[in-house]
């Protein structure tokens, strides 16, 4: 471990826990598997040119959840106190996120910044700032977008800007790669396809096989246009009419739920169609195992994890030929496909399907493939601003020049920030390692650095504190050498206090950090109002004054 430099990855996205969704679970599972890869035993360390040391996630604050949190296995999450303004996205301020991103990148010794989801403004800003500061950048696109409507056009332009100067990109399927390449104009050889996976340990088939007397079709999705809720409205009555032993379970919520309810009323299907409403992620498995067939009616999907989850639970759905029944997005065709599925049903073995899923899709595999992408990203050359600017000019005749200007201003602001707060004044964070010993007690060890070099020289007398703790067994990490016995209970206290008083600290911090500034601004505003009311006769001239600053 001493010979190889450990790399730290920063995952940036607006979407993370406590929000639930495809992107959120992707980031979470990928980070966990990367952490596990980083702590493997010695022989595997030399497999790649670098090694993952740490993964840090950055997202915006969710309600009262702000500050630094540690989730499973020591994954550090920064909930930066920028408020979300639209659909869980932070307000796009372009340059205001530069100080905090720079601070996080320096103090965590980040090597690669990995952004997720084209719709996330925080991701785009972080990637822009990271590129300005010279870090290697990777982007993962999770969704398909159109080309025609106004929203898509703007989104595609922003994506073009971000991907113009990226090290590598990842897409979750070949269709998604095609879509991303067309939207952003990036060269296809820089895009890797790394599919999502499913947590097969969580989605296991039911222990008792359901009888085929009554066939249950499960639908779990957001009830929106894009997920084909309108198709469902046509298909369900048709199928219920054709097959008397078929029942539907519909889980999920959305704007189209009203239409489904109406359909139920119209065809008197209250006893045959069960509407569950929004299903929390933890309960999805229990809903899935109560059915035989999983129906997915999405009009467009980059990668449907829901289908994988269903297949992992042993339901007949869309996958390799003997697990799949495909159809066109047309009600008649869908009914025909359901008929075929019902006929196929007796020959399906849920456990065999689950085993196949386990082999085909696993997050560890995804993590290994992502490591290859990081490896490739790190091998790309370092370039200065002048070399990078021509790439932005290709984005369009007007847009290209505007993007160049944006990057130049960003660079200047970064230089200014370097003068205001030099790199030396930002302290690096001590490393935390979570280790379980044979008592299953999580002991947290802190490794402090000396002069920026890890484990260089053992004159650490001024860094030793706490009692020496020697774990009797545990991971190879600790037994590797006697050096790793620096113990601090910094994080141990964190853990205890987290259990006790999680919110108080962060609420206090947020308030404290802003109290003085808010008061100051308020006083200034009040002063200005008073001064102006004395000076001018009417309020109109006040407004005029505010608008025209000389």
């Amino acid at each position: 471990m001493d010979q190889q430099r450990k790399h730290t990855i920063l995952m940036v996205s607006d979407f993370f826990y406590p929000n639930f969704g495809g992107v959120e679970s992707h980031i979470y599972y990928l980070s966990q598997c990367l952490l596990k890869l980083g702590h493997k035993t010695e022989p595997d360390l030399n497999a790649f040119a670098f090694k993952i040391g740490l993964v840090v996630v950055m997202t915006h604050s969710y309600g009262k959840r702000t500050g630094v949190r540690y989730v499973t296995n020591g994954l550090k999450v920064y909930y930066v106190p920028w408020r979300a303004f639209l659909m869980q996205n932070t307000l796009p301020t372009f340059y205001l996120t530069l100080p905090i991103i720079r601070t996080i990148l320096i103090r965590e010794r980040i090597s690669i910044v990995h952004g997720h989801q084209a719709f996330s403004t925080l991701c785009h800003e972080a990637l822009m700032h990271a590129r300005t500061m010279g870090y290697k950048v990777v982007f993962t696109d999770h969704s398909l977008y159109g080309f025609a409507d106004v929203g898509s056009i703007h989104m595609n332009k922003v994506l073009q800007f971000t991907l113009a100067d990226i090290s590598q990109a990842i897409c979750v399927s070949h269709t998604s790669k095609e879509n991303t390449v067309l939207r952003s104009g990036i060269t296809p050889d820089r895009v890797f396809v790394v599919p999502n996976a499913v947590d097969t340990a969580m989605f296991t088939p039911s222990t008792c096989r359901l009888s085929c007397d009554e066939i249950v079709i499960v639908v779990i999705s957001r009830l929106v246009y894009r997920k084909g809720a309108d198709l469902l409205v046509e298909v369900i009555p048709e199928v219920c009419h054709l097959f008397s032993n078929v029942r539907f379970i519909v889980g999920g919520d959305g704007p189209k739920r009203v239409r489904l309810e109406e359909m139920r009323e119209k065809h008197s299907l209250q006893d045959r169609v069960e509407m569950l409403g929004a299903v929390p992620h933890a309960r999805v498995r229990s809903v899935l195992i109560s059915g035989h067939i999983f129906l997915n009616s999405s009009l467009t999907e980059a990668f449907c994890i829901a289908i994988l989850e269903a297949a992992s639970c042993g339901l007949l759905t869309v996958l390799p030929d003997d697990m799949v029944v495909l159809s066109e997005p047309d009600p008649g065709d869908m009914v025909h496909a359901i008929r075929k599925a019902i006929v196929m049903l007796p020959s399906i073995d849920p456990y065999a399907m689950h085993q196949r899923m386990k082999k085909l899709y696993s997050w560890h595999d995804v993590a290994k493939r992502t490591e290859i992408v990081y490896d490739r990203a790190l091998q790309s050359s370092d370039e200065n601003l002048l070399r990078r600017l021509p790439r932005y000019l290709k984005c369009g005749s007007w847009a290209g020049k505007m993007f160049c200007l944006v990057m130049i201003v960003n660079f200047l602001l970064w230089c200014l920030l370097d003068l205001w707060q030099p790199v030396e004044s930002i302290e690096e964070v001590p490393d935390l390692v979570f280790i379980r010993n044979e008592h299953e007690d999580v002991r947290i060890f802190v490794f402090l650095r000396l002069n920026g070099f890890r484990w260089r020289g053992m004159d650490c007398s001024q860094w030793v504190f706490g009692d020496a703790f020697i774990p009797s067994s545990g991971s190879g990490f600790c037994n590797r050498s006697g050096k790793f016995q620096w113990i601090s209970e910094v994080a141990f206290i964190f853990r205890r206090v987290f259990d006790l008083r999680q919110r108080i600290r962060f609420r206090f911090v947020f308030r404290n950090g802003f109290g003085g500034l808010r008061l100051f601004c308020f006083v200034i505003a009040l002063l200005l109002c008073v001064l102006n009311s004395v000076r001018f006769e009417s309020g109109v001239s006040l407004i005029r004054m505010l608008v025209s600053f000389d």
């Binding site: 702000t66 500050g67 630094v68 920064y78 909930y79 930066v80 106190p81 920028w82 205001l96 100080p99 905090i100 601070t103 996080i104 103090r107 707060q421 030396e424 004044s425 302290e427 964070v429 001590p430 007398s461 001024q462 860094w463 030793v464 504190f465 706490g466 601090s488 209970e489 910094v490 206290i493 964190f494 205890r496 206090v497 006790l500 008083r501 108080i504 600290r505 206090f508 911090v509 947020f510 404290n512 950090g513 802003f514 109290g515 003085g516 500034l517 100051f520 200034i524 200005l528 001064l531 102006n532 004395v534 000076r535 004054m545 600053f549 000389d550």
Partner: protein, 194 residues
């Protein structure tokens, strides 16, 4: 095993005196930059000079009105000068001291350049634990040392007793010895009770 030599980092310096009359004294001193003081005072003078007109009249109320006579153009310059003066403002804090009296309590002191000293004593029985927090604000991230007190919802900060625009943010390597000493004092107290 703590070193007696002072630790220096940018404008902070840490001193520890562990032998004075059985008290454990930790100090963090803040350096004042002369340029900062000069700039902040000159900005205040500029602000006053450009924006406030003194007109000599005999009538008192006219004097008051014209005192508030503010030029439209100078609204912007008011803001700029004020902000610059504030942000380049020298930190009024000269040093922060933590005096740990074993089995008795902890005294937190703030010494200002003007000579004022603010002291706060916390009895040892009231302290549950001391901790190092990572505080995240929209523009930066720093460490702070805080005390967790019994029966109180708020954490007590050790080194930021005053709320000012320029906060005292000593680096982690200076906070760690203080934290350790506080922990030792609290643990001794706990073991003596049980």
């Amino acid at each position: 095993m703590m070193s007696e030599a002072p630790i220096f980092h940018s404008k902070y310096s840490y001193h520890h005196d562990g032998k004075a009359q059985q008290l454990d004294i930790h100090e963090i001193l803040v350096k004042r930059s002369r340029l900062g003081i000069f700039l902040s005072y000159s900005m205040v003078v500029v602000f006053l000079g450009t924006n406030v007109y003194f007109v000599t009249t005999k009538v008192f109320c006219i004097l008051i009105l014209t005192f508030f006579e503010v030029n439209i153009r100078s609204i912007w310059s008011i803001l700029v000068c004020f902000l610059l003066a504030k942000f380049l403002h020298y930190n009024p804090v000269k040093k922060e001291r933590v005096v740990i009296m074993p089995a008795f309590g902890v005294q937190l002191e703030t010494h200002y350049w003007s000579g004022r000293i603010v002291r706060l004593f916390v009895p040892i029985s009231k302290i549950l634990s001391s901790m190092l927090n990572e505080c995240v604000t929209p523009v930066t991230c720093y460490w702070s040392l805080a005390l967790l007190l019994r029966d109180e919802g708020e954490l007590m900060l050790v080194f930021q007793l005053i709320r000012s625009v320029q906060k005292l943010q000593p680096p982690l390597k200076m906070l760690v010895p203080v934290w350790k000493a506080l922990r030792a004092a609290i643990n001794c107290e706990e073991t003596s009770i049980t």
